[in-house]
């Protein structure tokens, strides 16, 4: 391998900026990523895990109490029938967009830098969608009849109403979850084989052996594998763009001022990508630091993600202003009122938090210096997460609280159970994410090897 190493050093000077820094060889990539799952986790992992686990306990208690007592424990009132639960649902589904976007869309566009971050972004997607699915599930109140949502032949001879956007949502989010899971697993098969072949203990041999399905790196297999991966990417690309569009129709198909607009689908998708990338940055920064992965998840990766946040943040800002323009241009009293009320009514505080976090903060990323500053990136990404939660809060709550009839108006405040459920969902998310970091290859080993310069058979040849 020393020959290869020498070659890399020579080639680094004349080729495009490398995606993997340092003197990594194929072997050292395997070692670096696999050893994380093979050695005891750092202390920080245990602290984070115990903390997440307690939040998960909080979620369980809150859900049990909710099922026992009913949705009356929430702050819902007469006009505001959708409170934090729906805000949280849309928030988590939005976060779940970055993973498949990175894996599928960037794959089709041959953006090779995706390989360093796609695995844990996909994991993040799956866990975020799991958190999202909890909320509509418990919001129906009588959870034991949740099966009414599915087209299951039943003794009542009833079928769901396929004209309802809420049912579209069941299918869209359910399919998104399933397809993301398949995509994630297909990507994991060769890496599970790597862990299997390195396994020292009986348990690891059996578990990773089963998960790897007997993968033997055969090129006859790689050929079908690569095409299946391409197909999954091609199918996921329209899917990822459709999911949040369909979520937005929950609002857009209704007749409520502030919801009934055609701009919702693209605007929701841009917001989802924005929040998803923000969450990837929030997670990637501590992970690369704690596990010493700076040479694989490089500053270049963070820089590119910051640029995507800048683009999508500005698109979201454009959508906010266009909503106002349409409200004015439509000459519809109710529509105009809804938007003036958003910015200057009782929820103006939420509206301006949203504008500051989603539109103003990402503008920092015009500066290369700020894009390459870890503290700035980390804090800005957290602000973006906060801002995107408030975006959904503004849309759901401010529109519902003041509809057509002033005698119908009311103000909404959450109760303690709204808060515990939301915090608890973070517990679920981080518990799963930390388990993933502990037991699975968090970076796509075979894909990272594939984008290294020496993976090209013509590497080192003079043309």
């Amino acid at each position: 391998m020393s020959d290869t190493n020498k070659n890399i050093e020579q080639m680094n000077d004349i080729q495009e900026a490398p995606l993997v820094l340092g003197n990594h060889t194929f072997g050292s990539i395997t070692e670096k990523i696999s050893s994380i799952t093979e050695t005891p986790p750092p202390k920080g992992w245990w602290l984070a895990f115990l903390f997440s686990l307690s939040l998960l306990g909080l979620l369980q208690v809150s859900i049990l109490y909710l099922i026992w007592e009913g949705t009356g424990i929430w702050g819902l009132n007469n006009p505001i029938g959708w409170g934090w639960a729906i805000v949280n649902f849309v928030f988590w589904v939005g976060i779940g967009h970055a993973g498949t976007l990175i894996s599928a869309v960037l794959f089709l566009f041959r953006q090779k830098w995706r390989t360093a971050i796609n695995r844990f972004a996909e994991a993040m997607t799956i866990f975020a969608v799991m958190c999202a699915l909890i909320f509509p599930g418990i919001h129906i109140g009588r959870v034991w009849v949740a099966y009414y949502m599915f087209p299951i032949p039943n003794s009542m001879l009833m079928w769901p109403n396929f004209r309802s956007p809420l049912l579209w949502d069941v299918f869209a989010v359910g399919t998104y979850f399933t397809v993301s899971l398949l995509f994630w697993y297909v990507g994991l098969i060769p890496d599970f084989a790597t862990l299997r072949d390195r396994a020292k203990t009986k348990v690891r041999k059996v578990v990773y052996g089963i998960l790897a399905l007997g993968w033997r790196s055969s090129n006859r297999h790689w050929q079908n594998y690569e095409q299946a991966y391409l197909m999954l990417a091609g199918l996921s690309t329209p899917l990822v763009l459709s999911v949040h569009s369909i979520v937005s129709t929950d609002f857009a198909i209704s007749l409520l001022p502030g919801w009934h607009t055609t701009i919702f689908p693209p605007y929701f998708v841009a917001g989802a990508i924005f929040s998803g990338f923000a969450m990837v940055i929030t997670l990637a920064i501590p992970v690369r630091y704690i596990y010493g992965l700076e040479s694989i998840i490089t500053m270049g990766h963070l820089d590119k993600m910051a640029k995507i946040m800048l683009v999508t943040g500005s698109m979201v800002g454009y959508a906010y202003s266009m909503e106002f323009f349409i409200a004015w241009y439509s000459n519809n009293t109710y529509e105009s009122f809804a938007f003036v009320n958003r910015a200057f009514g009782p929820y103006a505080w939420a509206y301006w938090i949203m504008i500051s976090c989603n539109v103003i903060v990402p503008q920092l990323f015009w500066s290369k210096k700020l894009r390459n500053s870890i503290p700035v990136l980390f804090i800005a990404s957290i602000f973006a997460n906060i801002g995107m939660w408030f975006e959904r809060f503004v849309i759901v709550i401010s529109s519902l609280s003041r509809d057509y009839l002033p005698s119908n108006w009311d103000y909404y405040s959450p109760t303690i159970w709204d808060v515990t459920l939301f915090l608890g969902s973070f517990g679920l998310f981080f518990t799963l994410f930390l388990l993933f970091l502990r037991f699975m290859p968090m970076i796509a080993i075979s894909e990272v090897k594939g984008v290294m310069p020496e993976a090209d058979p013509h590497h080192g040849e003079k043309h």
Partner: protein
Amino acid sequence: MTPKNLYGMLAEFQTPKEILDAANAVRKEGYIDFDCHTPFPVHGLDDAMGLKRSIVGFIVGIGCVVGATAGLTLQWWSSTIAYPIIISGKPLFSWQAFMIITFVLMVLGGAFSALIGMFHLNRIPTFYHPLFNSEQFKKATDDKFFVSIEFKDPKFDIEDTRKFLEIIGGKNIEVIEE
């Protein structure tokens, strides 16, 4: 002298370029039942081995059609025949509203057929394979590249094949038993 339960022969190569040249050489020598094992897909290896294009794409196409048809049929049947209910004066078969679930089920059908098609063509899961008996083969998922030639290949001869693999640069040549 040929051992009884022979599977084939395994040779190790060090770089993607070496495995590419080796695959070309093995194919030109006339072997058919051979395979290359690489830690990641090596660009150009399919052509070097003389493989035809994968048919996973066709399987996915069929899966998409089945998914979409099933989705539309389910909605049409349940809304017009099984449970016809007029909601907001809309027609029973509101095809515009039904397109979304049709699309989503098309994607679902395609995704499952990609997975199942790939599994079937690769015959996985198969947890036992003679190559797993080789200790050095574990490096195939790490940083080494291997060529395996099967005993059932008509050109296979334990002496000639070994010599041939040596000539094209194979290291650690190993006879693999079932």
